[in-house]
């Protein structure tokens, strides 16, 4: 369905071209105007008005964008770039074309499987710590357990989930890990598969009814639960949860001399506005350094929702890791996807020229690793 508001929203793009100077993806492709927000919005207009048919280039134009929101943040005219792109993707999906997922769409398939009840959740056996099956305080691991089997490197899913449980336990909480929870639907939503997203949301909302607090370790899960679900429970990213525990004096850390920097996932930063919590936490126990581009100016890891991983997104990632290596010895991120993309890059030193030496560590795992007995 094409709403008049969608069309009016597209007319908000003045086609000034400011985004050509901002979009990190366009800086890499240096290609056609379809590679920058302005072109993507014009293509969305053409699609919505029936002036363009779906073809490969149209799919590329609308999907080769991690919806990092950098252009939208800087757009003086206030064009809702990412929302329009997502709506245009929904039109593509509605008309039966397939989404250009990476990894042969396996993650999409896995998310679909989580819609079904009664799956064998043997990953739970790998989790260390004290948790329960139900309760008011929920830890939401999202798709983390399912990423690893598909990726051919060690993402540390079990370690991250265990780390989250450890943090809860240190604060005297036995979190609930509700095994039947489905994928958060972040990727379904951002790929324009609204029907599928609604099914995931409906299932999760039912299972989360009556809970009071939900903590996620992944920025994508956090942003989608917070912005697109209507949950009674408060939704927190683990960095906010840990920050509050520190403020309450419930956690203590062994201080380290390690130089550490933080990569702001776009879903945590620009999408939901949380820049401070992870920094406040890290600064309590490490030698914290900023990268050249950080906070609202941070550049994306290159891929959003497992779509269009290609040579350009890999270049973005490499740039980001190099930027981190200039500032620190360890790069922390707080999103399972950013972690996967950066880790993937580091697994191929022989294929990547000038790959810097830097450790990539998940925020939750890093925090838990440095906890000290109170």
């Amino acid at each position: 369905m094409i709403s008049e508001q969608l069309l009016l929203d597209i007319t908000k793009c003045s086609r000034c071209g400011k985004c050509t100077a901002i979009c990190p993806m366009f800086e890499k492709t240096k290609g056609w105007d379809t590679g920058v927000a302005r072109g993507k919005l014009l293509v969305s207009w053409g699609l919505a008005r029936g002036e363009l048919e779906i073809n490969d280039k149209l799919i590329e134009a609308l999907y080769q964008c991690p919806t990092c929101m950098l252009c939208e943040q800087e757009c003086t005219a206030g064009a809702k770039v990412t929302e329009i792109i997502r709506e245009a993707r929904a039109l593509i999906v509605e008309r039966g074309a397939s989404v250009p997922f990476s990894h042969r769409g396996t993650f999409d398939t896995v998310a679909r499987i989580t819609l079904r009840d009664g799956l064998h959740r043997d990953w739970l056996d790998l989790i260390k710590g004290d948790f329960r099956e139900n309760g008011e305080t929920v830890y939401f691991p999202g798709s983390l357990p399912y990423l690893e089997p598909v990726l051919d490197f060690d993402l540390g899913a079990a370690r991250i989930i265990s780390a989250a449980v450890t943090i809860f336990n240190r604060a005297g909480i036995r979190p609930a890990i509700i095994t039947q929870l489905a994928d958060s639907g972040h990727d379904a939503f951002w790929s324009g598969q609204y029907q599928f997203f609604n099914a995931l949301k409906e299932k999760n909302s039912r299972l989360l009814a009556g809970t009071k607090m939900i903590v996620t370790t992944c920025a994508e899960d956090y942003s989608i639960l917070k912005s697109e679900y209507s949950l009674e429970a408060g939704v927190y990213h683990i960095s906010q949860f840990v920050r509050d525990l520190i403020r309450e004096g419930k956690l203590a850390f062994s201080e380290g001399a390690e130089r550490v920097t933080f990569h702001d996932p776009c879903r945590l930063g620009r999408h939901t506005g949380e820049y401070d919590a992870p920094r406040e936490v890290l600064k309590t126990f490490v030698d914290y350094r900023e990268m050249a581009r950080y906070g609202k100016d941070a550049v994306c890891c290159g891929v959003g929702a497992w779509m269009n991983c290609n040579k350009y997104s890999k270049q973005l990632r490499l740039d980001r890791v190099k930027e981190a290596a200039e500032a620190a010895d360890t790069l922390i991120t707080a999103c399972s996807k950013c972690l996967s993309h950066f880790s993937c890059l580091m697994t191929e030193p022989e294929k990547v020229e000038d790959l810097p030496e830097i450790k990539i560590v998940d925020f939750t795992e890093f925090v838990a690793r440095n906890l000290k007995d109170t």
Partner: protein, 460 residues
């Protein structure tokens, strides 16, 4: 052979396209006018450009140069189809010679990137469109772009020393030289500047660069009567000062800025003048004193010399954002370029602004006015629902009324943004007896009218 195959042969598969989606992305610039190209190509060298233009010439199909497409008058929109030459990949700064006051660049160099490079040597390329971060030198040459500082430093034409141009038949010529002065016959360099790509494709430019002023100061003066604006500008000139910028925000623009960035907190007055002074510390100090006293003499309610860098930056950021910030006022309305760029003799500015207010009232279309009053150049923006045909037509009529009023006051409808496809009518009306000569010049360069047809003139 098909044209697309020939284009691919010239630039390779990656940089030539006839894909509908790709073409569609080149069907517009910052104006409302649309036109679908048949092909888009991204050349990277003069040789490639020359081959593409030769092909277009043989096949008699239009060729449309395009920089970053930030133009506001549809200059790069292929209104008659043909090949769009997307030149943004020709982005090399070829030579910087500040000792001899010049730089040589390819046309796709972004203005801000050139100035960042020149800043390393404390030099700059003076014309300063607000689109600095996203417009190319080629586009600036095409439109003879200017900006807030052109009062002191002149428009693009004043800063171009020489060009390499691919003519419509594919031959490559050079004009001008690497010297600041050149009287070598007719000034062809100046002719290509502001030609909207109708005479040839610029593939290289020798630009005049100058040392950056060492000191800069900003004065803001508030007025409760618009009438005083013309007077104050004249009073400033009378003190012997040529400001580097002299910008006006009228009541409507002040409101927009305050809505968009409340932290700037501009006062609720009829008009604000923002004046920049640049030069040596001693000269700037003297000029500030002259400007402050001129403003007071004419009756400014308050004159402020911005104390901190932040204050100065906030004021200028506010000024720069007006045009686009209007898009944020109403969820249903955009602010396409309609009646957006005109100029009048400085003393007649208050009359012009009163006309704008009258036209706004009569048309029922709210208008926001601001501009470079130091050179009599004003901009108007109107929030319009572009899906509402009646409202759009009303706005377009109001836009024409603004240009008519400017001409009646002895001004121009074509001061800054070039002509493109949208100001053809005004070129004819304004140039009057010189018009046939301009047409004749076009024919000398481009007898088959393949070079950006439908721009400046509509030749049948």
């Amino acid at each position: 052979m098909d044209i697309i195959d020939e284009l691919i042969q010239i630039v390779g598969q990656e940089r030539a396209s006839d894909d509908k989606t790709v073409l569609y992305a080149y069907s517009r610039d910052s104006s409302l006018i649309t036109g679908m190209p048949d092909y888009v190509v991204r050349p990277v060298s003069t040789e490639e450009v020359a081959k593409i233009v030769s092909l277009a010439s043989q096949r008699k199909i239009p060729i449309v140069p395009r920089g970053m497409g930030s133009g506001m008058e549809a200059g790069c929109v292929p209104v008659h189809g043909g090949i769009v030459l997307d030149l943004h990949n020709m982005d090399k700064i070829l030579e910087v010679n500040t000792d001899c006051l010049y730089a040589v660049v390819e046309p796709g160099v972004i203005h801000a990137n050139l100035n960042a490079r020149l800043a390393e040597q404390d030099f700059f390329f003076a014309p300063d469109p607000a689109s600095t971060d996203f417009c190319t030198i080629g586009g600036m040459i095409g439109t003879n772009a200017s900006g807030m500082t052109c009062l002191k430093y002149g428009d693009t034409r004043k800063s171009v020393l020489g060009l390499e141009v691919v003519l419509p038949d594919g031959t490559i010529i050079n004009t001008g030289s690497r010297t600041v002065k050149s009287d070598c016959g007719y000034d062809l360099t100046a002719l290509f500047v502001g030609a909207d790509g109708t005479l040839g494709v610029v593939t290289k430019a020798i630009l005049k660069v100058i040392p950056r002023p060492r000191t800069r100061a900003t004065v803001a003066a508030y007025f409760d009567e618009l009438e005083k604006i013309g007077e104050v500008v004249v009073a400033i000139f009378a003190t012997g000062v040529i400001p580097a910028a002299c910008e006006l925000l009228d009541r409507s623009a002040i409101k927009v800025i305050n809505q968009y960035k409340p932290e700037i907190a501009l006062p609720d007055v009829d008009a604000i003048l923002i004046i920049n002074l640049e030069g040596s510390a001693a000269a700037v100090e003297e000029e500030v004193a002259g400007v402050v006293s001129s403003c007071k003499k004419v009756g400014a309610i308050e004159v402020k010399t911005a104390a901190t860098r932040e204050e100065v930056d906030a004021l200028w950021a506010g000024r720069r954002s007006v045009g686009s910030a209007i898009y944020r006022l109403d969820p249903k309305r955009a602010s396409p370029n309609i009646g957006g760029d005109y100029g009048v003799p400085i003393k007649r500015l208050p009359e012009m602004l009163r006309e704008v207010r009258r036209i706004a009232e009569e048309s029922g279309i709210p208008m926001v006015a601001f501009g470079h009053v130091g050179d009599g150049n004003l901009h108007t923006h109107m929030p319009v629902n572009v899906l509402d045909e009646e409202e759009l037509a009303r706005a377009e009529k109001a836009g024409d009324a603004i240009y008519e009023a400017a001409l009646k006051l002895g001004g121009t409808a074509t001061p800054e943004h070039g002509i493109g496809a949208s100001k053809i009518r005004w070129v004819k009306e304004e140039s009057k007896s010189a018009y046939p000569l301009m047409l004749a010049i076009k024919k000398v360069f481009d007898p088959h009218n393949i070079m950006n047809p439908g721009k400046i003139f509509e030749i049948s």
